[in-house]
């Protein structure tokens, strides 16, 4: 398994974190990720992350649910077992609405949660590398990947100068099961990052 080197700094307040993210990106370092204890609004934009398309997936799942419900019910009542129940019509659309709606919601919700878990690689028994145990408590943890071009010592002093605390270096093995760090190559809008560097 590949082993990567990271420089980790923690911040106590999001007000310090925002300008720091900007400075790191301007300096051209490879920002691996920022871990926060709660959703910090606007941080994804500050880091240059792409918008998620989870909503679109949800819409597709919803439509799938609608189609499944309508086609299944009309197939059952019209073709598989066309039974006369109280003289009611075989394709009673108003009577089909409640179940159609419920299945739309069910498909969309279940599909989206599964997609969410897949995209974020979350599942029971998955254990990932925690760069700082307080990143789920009160620290905002910035992780920068050390590349061939990076001088780790310089990076450390740079992070301290922009408000980083507890700056340290961590070597992490990328595994599928234990000690995995998040790896998503297409996370960043690379063109925008380069534009900032230039």
């Amino acid at each position: 398994m590949a082993v990567k080197n990271f420089v980790v700094a923690s911040f106590s307040d999001e007000a310090v974190l925002f300008p720091a993210v900007k400075k790191v990106r301007t300096a051209g370092y490879k920002l691996h990720d920022v871990y926060t204890p709660f959703p910090v609004h606007g941080l994804d934009h500050a880091m240059g992350l792409r918008e998620t398309s989870l909503h679109t997936a949800g819409f597709v799942y919803g439509i799938t649910g609608t189609t499944t419900a309508l086609s299944c019910m009309s197939w059952v009542f019209n073709s598989d077992w066309p039974m006369n129940i109280g003289g009611k019509p075989h394709f009673p659309l108003p009577a089909f609405i409640p179940i159609t709606f419920e299945l739309t919601v069910l498909f969309a919700a279940v599909g989206m949660v599964l997609t969410f878990c897949y995209l974020c690689q979350l599942a029971p028994f998955v254990k990932k590398h925690i760069f700082n145990p307080r990143q789920t408590d009160d620290k905002f943890v910035m992780v920068i990947e050390v590349t061939a071009k990076t001088n780790a010592a310089e990076l450390k002093s740079f992070l301290t100068s922009i408000g980083g605390e507890q700056v340290n270096e961590q070597r992490v093995e990328a595994g599928w099961w234990f000690g995995r760090y998040d790896r998503d190559d297409r996370l960043f809008d690379t063109q925008r990052v380069e534009a900032v560097n230039a």
Partner: protein, 494 residues
């Protein structure tokens, strides 16, 4: 960097001097500590109730539904009353977590987790009643449409009872997903604080490997928002469909178009009452008064007085329509048998508990009084139980054929079953309050800076200062204005 500005006039959502770490400490430490004596007492009583319920149900399954006092005239009694009542209880949870999220109501953060848990447990209790009413419960899977060996025999998609199967199971699934996806980050917090190996392992499994990565938060926010958007019509649809069980029939007293909105309002009414009951106990036992504040209770009491009035309006509309429509059966059902018949006592309990008493909440002193809120929450729940009872039993016990008129009182297995669901509900809730973060830690942190007491005070001070500076600036040169602006910018960054 919270750009959302909240008025200093608005009451803080979090009392006391807190920072992010303090929030974690306050909410997570009850999980790590041994539960108090009260917890054990409550848990034991719940378990006893649950055991009694299990016994009653076993009795019923063994001897058949004949052990219940249902008869030819009253085919639905306590069982369906309890079903509708429990489903209604659940609605406040989804309402708080979904509708209030869409409406950007910050106060939901303090109460949403517990309310969602309540939803799930309430729906679990509700679902059992129709299932055991089937009599042969081992055949319960017949309600699901699947290709089967009984020839191409399908369920009746035109039946509101089948719509219920879909509605309740979808509602349960979606609520569970919503609740659990919100819990994942908080489980991670518990995991990362864990001192014992077992706790680290168990919460590690529950946390799904959550790290708090920004990209994950972004997706998580998107997920919550869409789930909220899906759950909002879902809540309304579920109780609407439950009301169809009655409204699509031809029984006087059931066959009304007002049922869907009236049922939904009633569900929210009883649901909020139950949230109040639970949260008043929880905040006391777990010392969470700073997070579940009087302001939260007041907000819920406002919803209670609103929905209570909607329900009251519906009762009066029904009476009016029964008179105005000039259908003798309808008129007799409402005036002779409901308001004045042998079961009339239940009608007047309903009226008193649901329409008259909640009016005390027009007074802010009453809304902000913990004891009054607690007593009222129980009165409302009693009233709403009687509402379901009145709708079901007083419409059935006098039908078109006077020779089959009858009366109804429950047998011990019916009462026992109902007690048992209380046992199940509170057993689950006690376990939840011990092992789960009862307040959404991450969400509280995200409103802390705009709505925490200490931050609000700081903002007030700063506003006063800048007003003074502005006043002073009016009497000085332009240079001082620049200084004042500088101070503003500086204060914002802090």
């Amino acid at each position: 960097m919270h750009l959302k500005y909240e008025s200093t006039l608005r009451e803080p959502l979090v009392d006391g001097v807190k920072d992010y770490h303090q929030v974690t400490e306050d909410i997570i430490s009850p999980i790590e500590a041994k539960p108090g004596k009260l917890w054990y007492v409550g848990f034991f009583i719940s378990l006893m109730l649950l055991a009694f319920g299990a016994f009653s149900v076993t009795w019923e399954v063994y001897y058949g539904t004949g052990v219940w006092n249902l008869n030819k005239t009253i085919g639905w009694g306590w069982d369906i009353t309890n079903f509708v009542w429990w489903v209604g209880i659940g609605h406040a949870g989804t309402l708080i977590s979904a509708i209030l999220l869409l409406f950007r109501q910050g106060w939901r953060t303090g109460v949403n987790r517990a309310a969602e848990a309540m939803t799930i447990f309430a729906v679990m209790c509700a679902g059992q009643f129709p299932i055991f009413h089937m009599g042969r419960v081992w055949m319960a899977f017949f309600v699901l449409p699947y290709p089967n060996t009984r020839g191409p025999l399908w369920v009746n998609f035109n039946s509101p009872l089948l719509w219920d199967v879909f509605a309740i199971s979808t509602y349960f699934t979606v609520s569970l997903l919503f609740w659990y996806s919100g819990l994942i980050p908080d489980f991670a917090t518990v995991r990362d604080r864990a001192k014992t190996k077992l706790r680290k392992l168990l919460y590690g499994i529950a946390a799904f490997g959550w790290t708090g990565s920004t990209k994950h938060w972004q997706r998580h926010e998107a997920l919550s928002l869409v789930l909220a958007g899906l759950s909002t019509p879902l809540v309304l649809s579920v109780h609407t469909i439950v009301s169809f069980d009655f409204a699509t029939s031809v029984i006087p007293g059931w066959h009304t178009t007002i049922f869907p909105p009236y049922f939904v309002a009633g569900a929210i009414f009883s649901g909020f009452a139950m949230v109040n009951t639970l949260l008043i106990i929880v905040r006391k036992i777990l010392h969470l008064e700073d997070y579940i504040t009087i302001g939260h209770m007041e907000a819920m009491n406002k919803v209670i007085v609103l929905t209570g009035s909607v329900v009251g309006c519906a009762y009066l509309t029904e009476l009016f329509m029964a008179w105005y429509a000039a259908v003798p059966y309808e008129f007799d059902t409402f005036y002779k048998y409901r308001a004045a018949g042998p079961l009339g006592w239940s009608y007047w309990i309903m009226m008193t508990c649901n329409v008259i008493t909640p009016q005390v909440f027009w007074f802010s002193k009453m809304r902000r009084n913990v004891a009054v809120t607690f007593v009222m929450s129980i009165i409302v729940n009693i009233g709403m139980w009687f509402e379901r009872f009145v709708i079901i039993c007083t419409s059935l016990y006098r039908d078109y054929l006077p020779s089959s008129w009858s009366y109804y009182r429950p047998s011990w297995p019916e009462v026992g079953f109902y007690m048992g669901t209380f046992g199940l509900f509170f057993t689950c809730f006690f376990l939840f309050s011990k092992y789960f973060p009862v307040i959404a830690v991450a969400e509280i942190k995200s409103v802390l800076k705009t709505s925490g007491e200490s931050y609000k005070k700081g903002m007030e001070q700063y506003e006063q200062q800048s007003a003074e500076q502005f006043e002073a600036g009016l009497h000085h040169d332009d240079d001082h204005h620049h200084d004042a602006h500088g101070a503003v910018a500086h204060a914002h960054h802090n």
